[in-house]
């Protein structure tokens, strides 16, 4: 075991894993994180906490994850390269370990332009691939980037993200291979709606043998309203929502119900695609729906290892 995290155990045992996202509040209330954990803690194997997602300031991922860990849940700390240099990043990695966090997800981060402090200076001292490498270096070689020794163990299960829909499409699998080479133990993908395109990408992933070197978790974003579907289709770069999906929502009497139904269908299809080892559900601001979706997708109860 690299980290002994619940997520690592579930994946190593060959189960179809479920991770779910918990969005931290815009303030210092740890109680909000706790109550989300209480609400959906039984419905997934591990819980991502976002790191100032879309460049909007929120309760930090490190503190939120520590709260979840204290509750006995398995947090996945998201860590961005946008807001911190290699000193802060490595220090927070040590901090995460000290507070019982065992999974980390390395990202570059959305550009500051999209957030609530568009005049801030972004850092990008290192990039996400280099961050993965850094965590691996600390964990496996007990070294900081400068070469000095890290005291004690850094048992972290290392995650990364990949978007099967962005361009250049033919390069995406190679980029994934780079992240795997850098040390990514698991991958959470961008939201999957276009199943055939995702299946094509997975085929390439399997052809390259990457599904044996890393665990691919397909990204799932439940859609609550027609407006949200249209917004994601039109404004979120790298998300592809097929016209049919939006049409079904538009035509539905009960949009929420239709949305859940479609997401459950997507999960069922994704499960059948060779090489997919789990899903990552991001129900941003709608976390309470996760147990119902998991129940209907036949993914409950979660394995206890």
């Amino acid at each position: 075991m690299k980290s002994g995290s619940n997520l690592e155990k579930v994946l190593s045992a060959g189960h179809f894993a479920v991770t779910a996202e918990i969005g931290p509040p815009k303030g210092g209330s740890g109680r909000i994180v706790e109550s989300k954990g209480e609400q959906i803690g039984h419905a997934a194997d591990a819980f991502n906490v976002t790191d100032n997602q879309t460049a909007v300031v929120r309760l930090c991922s490190l503190a939120s994850c520590a709260i979840l860990a204290r509750m006995g849940l398995d947090p996945v700390m998201q860590m961005l390269c946008r807001d911190a240099n290699r000193i802060r990043l490595q220090s927070d990695i040590c901090g995460a370990v000290a507070l019982g966090i065992r999974n980390i997800l390395c990202l570059s981060g959305d550009h500051i332009k999209f957030g609530n402090h568009p005049t801030a200076k972004s850092v990008f001292d290192i990039d996400s691939t280099q961050l993965i490498q850094t965590v691996k270096l600390m964990r496996d070689e007990h070294k900081f980037l400068c070469g000095e020794e890290v005291s004690g163990e850094i048992p972290l299960f290392i995650g990364a993200v990949e978007n099967p829909y962005s361009d250049p499409f033919e390069w995406r699998v190679h980029r994934l291979a780079k992240k795997v080479k850098a040390g990514a133990d698991f991958i959470q993908t961008q939201a999957i709606y276009d199943i055939p395109k995702f299946a094509r990408w997975m085929e390439e992933v399997c052809d390259a043998g990457l599904h044996e070197q890393t665990h691919i978790l397909a990204g799932i974003i439940p859609v609550k309203s027609v407006g949200m579907a249209r917004y994601m289709r039109d404004y979120v770069s790298g998300v592809e929502i097929p016209a049919e999906f939006v049409r079904r929502l538009e035509d539905a009497k009960d949009v929420k119900e239709e949305g859940i139904k479609m997401i459950v269908e997507i999960i069922e299809q994704v499960k059948e695609i060779p090489g997919v080892h789990g899903i990552h559900v991001q129900a941003v601001g709608w976390e309470e729906i996760v147990p119902e979706i998991m129940e209907r997708a036949g993914l409950l109860p979660r394995p206890i290892i």
Partner: protein, 218 residues
């Protein structure tokens, strides 16, 4: 190479002049003249704008290359002409402002332009930044296209997941630098180079630790 500049808002300029009423104006006959931010025409326009705000412009001139040190006599001449000024306003990039500062030691020397970047003219009238002068050039490994400058996140192992149809996620009017790098490396038949993980960068030779200086051997 061009130093790309843009004119500051008049209110900011007026504000920066503070209590000074007598002003000397300097333009630059090189990059700002070509860009239309600090040539003769813009200097005269600034003159009339300032006069409209109640300032007295006691001298104006366009220095041929404002960033370069004037020969001794020319410098003395400039100082003499600006003698009565309470402030100088320079329509050039920051290098020109610095140079005029060195001539006029007893009065404030103020920028009328924002120095945006060093860049090249891509097509008529469109200037684009190509280099941030990071101090450790990686162009050999990126097909001659700069990831520090052309990627909105300065990624070294791009592209990120927001790259769609050659456009950057930050703004569809910005070409994705990593798509450009990819296309170029593909054309060169060197995609294998992009498979190597670019190691963390040494920024110590970059913007940190005070001004970078270099001394040519005697």
């Amino acid at each position: 190479m061009k130093s790309i500049t843009a004119t500051k808002p008049l209110e900011e300029i007026v504000d920066s002049l503070g209590k000074a009423r007598k002003v000397a104006l300097f333009g630059c006959g090189t990059c700002p003249a070509m860009m239309g931010t600090g040539g003769l025409e813009q200097v005269l326009e600034m003159r009339s704008n300032l006069e409209g705000k109640g300032f007295q412009v006691i001298h104006d001139e366009v220095i041929p290359v404002a960033c370069e040190m004037l020969p001794y006599e020319a410098k003395e001449e400039l100082v003499k002409r600006a003698r009565a000024a309470e402030a100088a306003l320079v329509l050039s990039c920051s290098l020109g402002v610095r140079q005029v500062c060195s001539y006029l030691e007893s009065i404030p020397v103020l920028p009328a332009l924002n120095t945006l970047f060093i860049g090249v003219e891509e097509e008529g009238g469109t200037f684009v930044e190509e280099c941030r002068q990071c101090g450790d050039c990686v162009l050999a490994r990126t097909g001659g296209i700069c990831p520090v400058t052309r990627c909105a996140k300065s990624l070294f192992n791009g592209p990120c997941g927001g790259s769609v149809q050659g456009k950057c996620e930050v703004d569809p009017s910005i070409p994705c630098g990593w798509q450009m790098i990819y296309d170029r490396m593909k054309a060169l038949g060197r995609l294998d180079m992009l498979m190597e993980i670019e190691p963390v960068k040494d920024w110590s030779v970059s913007w940190h630790g005070g001004p970078r200086t270099i001394k040519l051997p005697e």
